[in-house]
């Protein structure tokens, strides 16, 4: 399993694949890995990203507008795997593009691309039997979201179904940057630990993590921090040719 957080806290970098274009996404991902990101989450652009704030909505709309498809994102993932055999690599998608491809076909394609795991935003544990069976058959890590609103019984089910890591949502709400790490986050991680500890599964905290101070704060109670909207916003305002270098510097600065 290539998902591991060698330094504490680990860094998971989310990128909306195909924004501004797939080649640039690949270059940015390589730069992120080379500057300390442990795991790359390649986001599949979707027409109706209802869990996302304005930044990722705009990126998604641009990528969908360019005709970027799930199959294209998997090809980019394959190239990334070829170039960096040891990095952690996760596909992040809304469910519908996966349903359209077919769950069985999706899991096989993820495996073939050399990807380690998947996170499906609108897939909950109760509906996941077929998904879990196919992921298991392919030796892939299903990653589920845990929310501050999830009662303990749900956290238990989430921890037991997840492999690779559990993605703890720092606050109720949609994706997007914020001033400081919400107080909800440490409390959620404390409750979640009870169930992840026996499995030895790490916890990554995401939503609103955008700078070195946030990463340090998350490091005090969790295993890794997920940087999403802050990266996507940075890419949005940077010329494509300079995006990889800019993102590389940004990632390097997160552990400074």
């Amino acid at each position: 399993m290539a998902i591991s957080f060698k330094q504490k806290p680990g860094i998971v970098a989310y990128l909306t694949a195909g924004d501004p274009d797939l080649q640039t996404t690949l270059a940015i991902a390589l730069a992120a890995i080379d500057n300390g990101a442990d795991v790359i989450e390649l986001g599949v652009p979707f027409s109706d990203p209802l869990a996302d704030g304005p930044v990722i909505q705009r990126a998604s709309e641009r990528a969908v507008g360019r005709g970027v498809r799930l199959a294209d994102v998997l090809e980019t993932a394959r190239q990334l795997r070829e170039a960096r055999p040891a990095c952690g690599l996760v596909i992040f998608s809304y469910l519908n593009p996966v349903v359209r491809m077919g769950m069985k076909q999706f899991c096989a394609a993820v495996k073939a691309a050399g990807v380690d795991g998947a996170l499906l935003t609108d897939m909950i544990v109760e509906e996941a039997d077929e998904y879990l069976a196919e992921m298991k058959a392919n030796g892939l890590a299903p990653i589920f979201l845990a929310a501050p609103t999830s009662p303990d019984a749900r956290l238990k089910a989430i921890a037991e179904a997840s492999r690779g890591f559990v993605y703890a949502i720092s606050r109720v709400g949609i994706t997007g940057t914020q001033q400081k790490v919400a107080g909800d986050a440490s409390e959620l991680v404390r409750r979640l630990r009870v169930f992840t500890e026996p499995q030895g599964i790490p916890i990554a905290v995401g939503f609103g993590i955008s700078n070195a101070e946030h990463v340090r704060a998350v490091g005090e109670f969790a295993d890794a921090a997920v940087i999403g909207s802050a990266l996507v916003a940075l890419i949005e305002k940077t010329a494509p040719a300079e995006a990889a270098v800019t993102v590389g510097k940004f990632i390097a600065g997160l552990r400074a």
Partner: protein
């Protein structure tokens, strides 16, 4: 394009049925943050539904405040003109606020009050659900925020003003095609963010469990009344029931009490828009260029989409039918063949609006006009002893602006002397 295998769960294959499932359709596909709220809602609804006091209060308001029961009216002149089956209209258009939407908004409003939620959010397409929700919030003294696509705000501006007059905040949504689907996305984002103190009154039989079941149950009153009225007036059940289908709440409400009456045809009418190509209509069940099973906004149902799973844009002259997916119970009824689904074009809906206005003095909402258009196609082919029940889900007052514009574009504006 092949239809991929449906999403399966252990419970489906073991028990065959599970709460929130309609055959393979329905379920719950939402961000984890909403799960606790959906479970809380499911429980609160089950308790309320089993409580006679809840139903007594709802029935009392539906009667004294909304004007239920609504009449079942024999449309004699248009029936004679068409020369076939007798057409009856279930007059949901006469309800307070002008459409069937109040049945559900009132039910969920009462539920929200029982749950102690003071902040209400809702989406709206044509504005009828938004108006109904704003009305209920005014009645119960609750804070109200309505999400509406900017395109829909433009074409249903009277309803925007109505909602504001009732004290609701209307927030425009400019994303996507700026119609109903985009309004639901934004309402769900609000709900995810404010889930601890906010109740989301979803307006159609859509979304994650328990919404499709709950909304259908609040709309069942349509079919329950119509069944008794038809037996009283005609001494028989209708040959067919015709209703328009956007999300499908008025249709499922009209159909539900007749599901076991196998001789009663159930006909859902989708928006045929201005063409059969993807993007030109909202006919999810259309054979070619129609929808495929998929997950949108919490439920597994038919979705208009491309072969990469990106949801397609839609078009209809009627904002209330302009939606890329459809309630999961309709998906099941479609596959089982218990209900038939067809479509009426923009032009046919406009013509049906004129026809009903001129023969019966009843101006249907553009949504409901799709059902009228289908009944006008069916009636001449049926015997004089046959009976068609049309669910006239709403009235057309809200559509004057768009009717004037569309009739002008088609050179069909009525003359000064009223002739066409």
């Amino acid at each position: 394009m092949s239809v991929t295998a449906p999403l399966r769960t252990k419970a489906d294959s073991a028990a065959g049925v599970r709460a929130g499932r309609f055959g393979v359709y329905g379920g719950r596909y939402v961000p984890e943050t909403l799960m606790a709220a959906l479970e809380e809602l499911e429980q609160a609804y089950a308790v309320a539904d089993a409580d006679p006091a809840f139903h007594a209060e709802l029935d009392g308001l539906l009667h004294h405040y909304c004007g239920r029961p609504t009449p079942l009216y024999f449309a004699k002149r248009i029936s004679e003109q068409l020369g076939g089956a007798k057409i009856y209209l279930k007059r949901e258009d006469l309800l307070h606020t002008g459409a069937h939407k109040i049945n559900n908004a009132l039910g969920q409003g009462l539920l929200a009050r029982r749950m102690g939620k003071q902040r209400i959010i809702a989406e709206t397409g044509a504005g009828q659900h938004g108006v109904a929700t704003a009305t209920v919030c005014a009645l119960f003294g609750m804070e109200c925020v309505i999400y509406m696509g900017e395109e829909d705000m433009r074409r249903q501006e009277l309803n925007v003003f109505r909602m504001r007059l009732l004290g609701a905040e209307v927030r425009g949504v400019g994303a996507g095609s700026a119609t109903l689907k985009d309004a639901i996305n934004e309402a769900m984002r609000d709900w995810v963010t404010n889930v601890r103190d906010t109740y989301y009154i979803l307006g159609s039989a859509l979304g994650a469990h328990p919404y499709p079941t709950m909304v259908r149950n609040f709309q069942r009153v349509i079919g329950r009344e119509a069944r008794a009225q038809m037996l009283e007036q005609e001494g028989r059940l209708p040959s067919a029931i015709v209703a328009c289908v956007g999300g499908g709440s008025n249709a499922i409400g009209a159909f539900y009490e007749f599901l076991c009456d196998k001789d009663v045809r159930l006909v859902g009418v989708e928006a045929g828009g201005r063409g059969t190509a993807l993007g030109e209509h909202a006919a999810r069940f259309q054979q070619v260029g129609g929808g495929l099973p998929g997950v949108l906004q919490g439920t597994y149902s038919y979705v208009l989409q491309n072969d990469a799973g990106q949801v397609a844009t839609t078009h209809s002259v009627s904002a209330g039918l302009d939606y890329a997916s459809v309630g999961p119970e309709h998906a099941m009824l479609h596959d089982s063949g218990r209900a038939e689904y067809t479509s009426a074009s923009d032009a046919e809906a406009l013509a049906a609006t004129s026809a009903l206005a001129r023969t019966e003095g009843i101006l249907p909402a553009l949504e409901s006009a799709h059902a009228v258009a289908e009944a006008m196609k069916m009636a001449p082919k049926m015997a004089k002893t046959d009976v068609i029940l049309v669910n006239l889900s709403g009235r057309g007052d809200k559509d004057m602006g768009i009717l004037a514009k569309e009739m002008d574009l088609r050179g069909a504006t009525p003359q000064r002397d009223g002739t066409l």
